[in-house]
Amino acid sequence: MVKENAPGGHDATLRLTLRVWRQRRGQPGAFEEHTLAAVPTSASFLEMMDLLNEQLVRAGKEPFAFDHDCREGICGMCSMTINGMPHGPLPGVTTCQLHMRNFRDGETITVEPWRARAFPVLRDLAVDRSGFDKVIQAGGFISVRTGSAPEANTLPVPKPVADAAMDAAECIGCGACVASCKNGSAMLFVGAKVTHLNLLPQGAPEADRRAVAMVRAMDDAGFGNCTNYGECQAHCPKGITLDVIARLNRDYLGARLRGFFASTGKPRRGGD
């Protein structure tokens, strides 16, 4: 639950100790400790990091590099492991939407990058998540030429199906699922995209090919296997649930089976 402001609590400040990860690409990293004397409780976590960086720059020191952009929980760029938890302690909240009123005065906060084999550290808290893009490039789309689409209402989609597709489509591609998984698996991310597209009638013609191609690309990009820990679901800021992994497994196995029968001369649907 989000902590509500006490009346007049807008101006309260916290004194914090921060242990923040420092690393140059390809070199070993280490924690650095800093203190901040007065962090407003109304500030967001990233605004707190801004304060730290301003303090460092004024002292002529290098600030910490971290990824962020929209600061409203939708672009998926922010990516900090806070006290061991990707995106911090609040469920359903990205790093940028976490506010300092959820921390205590005098607290020590540990800030690390995403930790996963497939996400190498670029610098400090910023990692390379291009593996996600490669998975989408392999099959996370519906092939339709610009300008060739039929009139939109010619293909009605039942509301429950559209709603379920939308649930899965809410994934912001942040990678918290990978960072929270002991195996560094991307199954929640891939499952969300496959579910979004394979549920819709528009996505059906390529459903088999999509599932197989995306799983293959996921393996190639160095993501680990899924052994059903379920940590991904717990840390996903957008409420993507394990159902999407079940769906992905079903679509993938079905596609392989159909592909196998196709190769033995049985009727073929889609295929890989």
Partner: protein
């Protein structure tokens, strides 16, 4: 002299179709030999890069984020307009066109706006085919809502995440072309200069943000889809990285910058809460469909718990002043009205800097009429976001909102083909100035970005390429490229060499304060004149006293920020100059000297034109050119939402 806008002849409704048949085509066998650079991967850039790649051109696409999917289009909440008339409520291409022209306060080009309205329907078809999960009715057909002051329901939406879903659609199309090898994608690359060869745009200079490498890229033409410049105000609803650098650098190379003073202040944002705030968050305007805006009648009540203030002591000022549009009055009007009541001392919420800058957006009557469940279904994620940021529960107490900078109608000048005055330089999406005049209607930016990217640029870029042909193409080895790279390296080195005491962010904040006060919701000759002097002084100080630690040979966000702030410091002055010369009030541009009792007074006799500014060098006065707005079809009328 301003170049020709190249508006096609013929009746308004047929201009685009007949123009399209006249545009030249490139032989499919030759397309692969043309290299097109697209800078930006938002709706406009992704759509353009994907479509051009699919047609067979060799395309390179650049963005500054770590993935094209993160472009700021992702943050759009409310929806996208299209003249489908699915609701049978009397909508049509003609009506969408008229609404957009009127909404823009008669400062947009007729022909461009009509084309936009025509293309709107094909956008929805395209997106649905891509799998964009728009809201649907129980019958399975697409749902619509009314939005931003429109009197018909023509807005398509995907929960409160329309921009995200549209961008993921465009990103998937782009990814498909990347996977197929038709588009090469360069994320974490920032464009820092444009390269001209023989007066044509033939390449760009980028800095690889992960490695610090500065290099040039040669191409047959360049398409900029780099978004808006709202961050000149420091606090805005834009993402942190949104910048004017790409367009300003092109401007410095000769591209005209049109109407920079037309900026949009959005009425429904979460109010500023403190000094260390880095951004403002929009609460979708769709909330105004079910929320009522009010402040206490009596300033003495402003500190009280809102639920303790009885109905007769509340001032529902939008309903009072604009009875026919009420809470749905257009953005510029609703924003100014909120500013007025706060300037009158009747703002609510905690005081920041000694002033209460906020008004209530109250859902109590909708909740009692429709039930909390319906409101949760419609706006659940927005209420959650509000709760996260403010620590307040908007189901139980009214939201507090205040206007914030949101969108920029100004941008690089383009002709009907979206080509700038520099041949070979095309500009799409929020980065150009073309379709929204002095004020943009809600749910029309997404429409414009996708219309430009999917349907206009692919045709007009082909026409340019067919015209210049394959002979005598630049190799990328020429002196122009080396020179541009050297200049960029030099500028980076200068930023690193200042070694002053102040952070780039602190300059950005100060610039923001200057332009917000002088060039925000109300502008005056006196304020703007002073702002121009203040910005110049701040700019000088920046180059003497900014601190950028490090060597720049790596991911160095502080260097990126400093470069963007340096450009805002030049651009902010141009914006104020434009506002100063435009001695009228229109749309988002409100000059206090030109009003009738708080209502904007336009001056069509003197200002029915586009102002397009020419760069004349650092410290030199820019030159203002005027492109007259010739209306063949509609007539200028005074906007009234009373």
């Amino acid at each position: 002299m301003i170049p020709d806008a190249k508006i096609p002849a013929g009746p308004l409704a047929q201009k685009w179709q007949s123009h399209k048949t006249r545009l030249r085509l490139v032989n499919p066998a030759n397309r692969r030999r043309y290299h097109v650079i697209v800078v930006g991967s938002g709706l406009a850039g992704s759509a353009a890069a994907a479509s051009l790649g699919e047609l067979g051109y060799e395309v390179s696409c650049f963005c500054y984020q770590d993935s094209p999917r993160r472009a700021h289009s992702i943050a759009a909440q409310g929806g996208i307009n299209a003249a489908k008339n699915y609701q049978g409520d009397g909508d049509s291409v003609r009506r969408l066109f008229l609404d957009t022209i009127k909404g823009g306060d008669y400062r947009a080009r007729e022909a461009n706006v009509h084309r936009l309205a025509e293309l709107s329907t094909a956008i929805i078809d395209q997106c649905v085919a891509q799998g964009v999960p728009f809201a649907r009715e129980y019958g399975g057909h697409l749902a619509n809502r009314s939005f931003g002051g429109a009197q018909v329901s023509r807005t398509f939406y995907a929960r409160g995440q329309t921009g995200q879903q549209l961008l993921l659609g465009a990103y998937s199309a782009l990814s498909r072309q990347i996977g197929a090898g038709a588009v090469r994608m360069y994320p974490r690359h920032e464009m820092l200069d444009l390269v001209l060869v023989g007066g044509h745009a033939k390449g760009i200079v980028t800095r690889n943000l992960a490695t610090g490498e500065v290099r040039s890229w040669a191409a047959d033409c360049v398409v900029l889809c780099t978004g808006g410049y709202g961050n000149v105000f420091y606090l805005s609803t834009n993402a942190q990285g949104c910048n004017v650098t790409a367009t300003h650098r092109a401007h410095r190379r000769g591209a005209l910058f049109a109407n920079p003073c037309y900026t949009q202040i959005h009425p429904t944002c979460i109010p500023v809460h403190g000094e260390d705030q880095s951004k403002l968050t929009l609460m979708s305007e769709s909330l105004r469909n079910d929320g009522r805006v009010w402040v206490p009648r009596d300033a003495a009540d402003c500190g009280k718990d809102p639920s303790s203030i009885p109905e007769p002591d509340r001032d529902y000022f939008l309903e009072r002043k604009y009875p026919s549009y009420g809470n749905l009055a257009p953005r510029d009007i609703a924003s100014r009205a909120a500013k007025e009541v706060c300037d009158d001392g009747r703002g609510v919420g905690p005081a920041v800097g000694g002033r209460r800058l906020g008004v209530y957006l109250d859902f109590a009557s909708s909740i009692s009429r429709l039930g909390e469940g319906v409101i949760r279904e419609r706006y659940g994620n927005l209420f959650d976001m509000y709760g996260n940021i403010t620590g307040e529960n908007a189901y139980r107490r009214p939201m507090r909102i205040y206007p914030a900078v949101h969108y920029t109608m100004g941008g690089l000048w383009v002709d009907y083909n979206l080509q700038s005055n520099i041949p070979g330089l095309f500009v799409g999406g929020e980065a150009n100035f073309s379709d929204h005049g002095a004020n943009r209607l809600g749910a029309s930016a997404l429409m414009q970005g996708l219309a430009d990217g999917y349907f206009v640029l692919p045709s007009t870029v082909a026409d340019y390429l067919a015209g210049v042909g394959l002979a005598g193409r630049p190799s990328g080895e020429g002196a122009e490229y080396r020179q541009a790279v050297a200049e960029t390296n030099d500028r980076v080195a200068r930023l690193l060499a200042v070694r002053g005491k102040e952070t780039a962010r602190s300059y950005h904040k100060r610039l923001g304060r200057i332009v917000w006060e002088a060039c925000g919701m109300a502008r005056s000759r006196e304020g703007l004149t002073k702002a121009i002097a203040d910005i110049r002084a701040l700019r000088d100080d920046f180059w003497r006293n900014v601190s950028v630690p490090g060597d720049g040979a790596d991911l160095t966000p502080e260097l990126e920020r400093a470069g963007r702030v340096a450009d805002f410091l030049e651009f902010g002055e141009l914006m104020c100059r434009d506002a100063l010369v435009r001695e009228e009030s229109c749309g988002g541009h409100f000059r206090t000297e030109h009003q009738d009792d708080g209502e904007a007074r336009r001056d069509d006799a003197r200002f029915a034109h586009v102002a397009a500014w020419e760069w004349r060098g650092e410290g030199a006065e820019p030159v203002r050119h005027a492109e007259p707005l010739v209306y063949e079809d509609v007539q200028f009328t005074t906007r009234s939402y009373k």
